[in-house]
């Protein structure tokens, strides 16, 4: 089942002669449980595509369907995008972006609470998620008291809290050393497989490419090349 379907999505900033085509018409489909990388140099359009998919920065043109919901069809479709993001999309950031004055557990529970889950239940589920990501022992630590890798695992737990259909990750391993980056990749793979979430990660970290099912190469705002790992893709479809 496709989680993400985008057709002819483009992004242009400015008008006339000053117009900058940050993303030329791009189409792609991502299945549930698929781990996708958007790879390319700086300015190639990968972050623009990520922002467009999440409708943080709506595209200029194109059609976006996520988890069966038409969100954009050459214009807004009237869907409450923020509410949709809250319930269907999980975010992982390069700098983790945990709320600094909340503990690991509170950071995860917050995501559940803004989705309407009660305090007691959100605390229980946050504890479970931290356990799932093998970071339960740091549940009561503040972000500043944790290592980069630990913070990233908490950030992943937060992204998983609302059981999203789609996880968007912005350079998830860029701030980590190879060992910790590899662990995070393994975790993303585990999440994709076990929870059937589609994962899209923007990266220029070539060390981690091996871990992805599909790699979209972007160059100058254009989808230049697609690498599928056939055996992995079939594993995903199975």
């Amino acid at each position: 089942m496709s989680v993400v379907e985008i057709q002819n999505v483009s992004q242009t900033f400015g008008y006339g002669e000053l117009a900058v085509h940050a993303l030329k018409p791009t189409s792609l489909t991502i299945e549930a449980g698929e781990l996708v990388a958007l790879l390319g140099p700086s300015g190639s359009g990968k972050s623009t595509l990520l922002l467009a998919i999440s409708l943080i920065q709506p595209p200029t043109t194109g059609r976006i369907v996520i988890d069966g919901q038409l969100l954009y069809d050459d214009g807004p479709t009237g869907v409450d995008v923020r509410a949709f993001r809250r319930s269907k999309i999980g975010f992982i950031f390069q700098q983790h972006n945990l709320i600094p004055f909340l503990t690991a557990r509170e950071n995860v529970a917050l995501m559940l609470q803004i989705n309407g889950v009660g305090r007691r239940e959100s605390t229980r589920r946050a504890t479970d998620l931290l356990g799932y990501l093998e970071i339960a022992h740091r549940a009561d630590s503040l972000p500043a008291q944790m290592s980069g890798g630990e913070q990233q695992r908490v950030a992943i737990a937060r992204a998983l809290a609302n059981e999203p259909a789609l996880i968007l990750a912005d350079e998830p391993t860029a701030a980590l050393d190879t060992e910790r980056g590899t662990k995070v990749m393994a975790m993303l793979r585990k999440i994709a497989r076990e929870r059937r979430s589609a994962v899209i990660a923007v990266t220029h970290d070539h060390r981690m490419i091996e871990g992805f099912d599909t790699v979209y190469h972007l160059d100058d705002g254009r989808l230049a090349q697609v690498d599928h790992k056939v055996q992995v893709a079939s594993e995903v479809r199975a």
Partner: protein
Amino acid sequence: MELALKDIRRHLGKFLATIVGVAMLLAIVLVMNGIYQGNIQDGVWLIDNTDADLWVVERGRGGPFNEASRIPLDSYKSVAATPGVARASPLALYAAQRVINGREQQFTLIGYDIFGGAGGPGRLVHGRTITAPHYEMVADRKLGLQLGDRVPLGTDHYTVVGLTSGAVDSGGNPLIYLALPDAQKVQFEQDKRAIQAAAAANLQRLNRAGYSGEQAARLLPLLSAGTSNINAVLVKLAPGADGDAVSGHIRDWLYFNVYSTAEERLLMLEGKLSRMSAVLGLFRSLLLLVSIVIIALIVYVQTIEKIKSIATLKLIGAPNGLIVRLIMTQSMLLTVASFVVAYLLRDLIAPGFPRTLGFLPVETALTFAVMLLGGVLASLMAVWHALRTPAQLALGG
């Protein structure tokens, strides 16, 4: 989840330090309110606490507080004989500076008719009123005197028989009450050697003018400065008497200036007190403005410090209400807590403050309301900034 409280709990030291800092500034605002009102209260204390309907003073003068007024003692008898006057009491006022209790102190002497006249001390906190015709005094406790203390004034010593509290002149200096003749003596009588020198000079002038020794001796008292002057006459109107008519009568027939108590009060407020009130009022407004600006800056900086967290909250889909509550709660807590601490500080400062502090609950409430409004406006500015923050700020390094 109450994010504001979580944030405060994690940065409790910083939050408390901020509260203390703002509270100290606000305490100055509150004390300045007190100084402003205290200045007015002191200025009109004597007028408000003197049981008089009319004040009779020297013709053409705005006395007895704003301008010196000197009238003959006997004039109070003429005033008493005016139709509509129930009682007329002589009053002497004299601002002085003497060494009392081992230090130079400024005070005002009030001389009044101790045998039933107006103008005497009101409620005493210790001791009794003056009963002896001479050498007794009632003093305000601000002078540091005790019952039984003997105070030298002029050529005589006076025994403290009663103490008042908060009895002050328009400058906030304490009052000393004496029997009228004693006050006149202190005010008008010169030092013995000066009197002798003046008398000798006058005698020589009379001799040069051809008056013999006996004649000169008879005329000499006429040339000496008398002590039978007073500064004002306090009038209590008879029931049903028309104050304007009585004033007109005294003005026309006795040739004095007459002010009602309300006019005397107005003279003080618009005269002696007006400039100081304007200065204090200006400082008070400026301090309030500075406090609001500082609170606004603190709230704004607090928001800016959290801007990446706010962007993250927006990006993960947190509703605006959560972000608005985060900012508003912190701002309101800061403002309210600062005000409460400032209020406590004010109460700590007030008893030892060298001037009268007049605190009006309405004014304190108004100051709180203005501060709260400032806090709300600052929060709205911060909220406006937060809600304009693009969610994509959370992305990237």
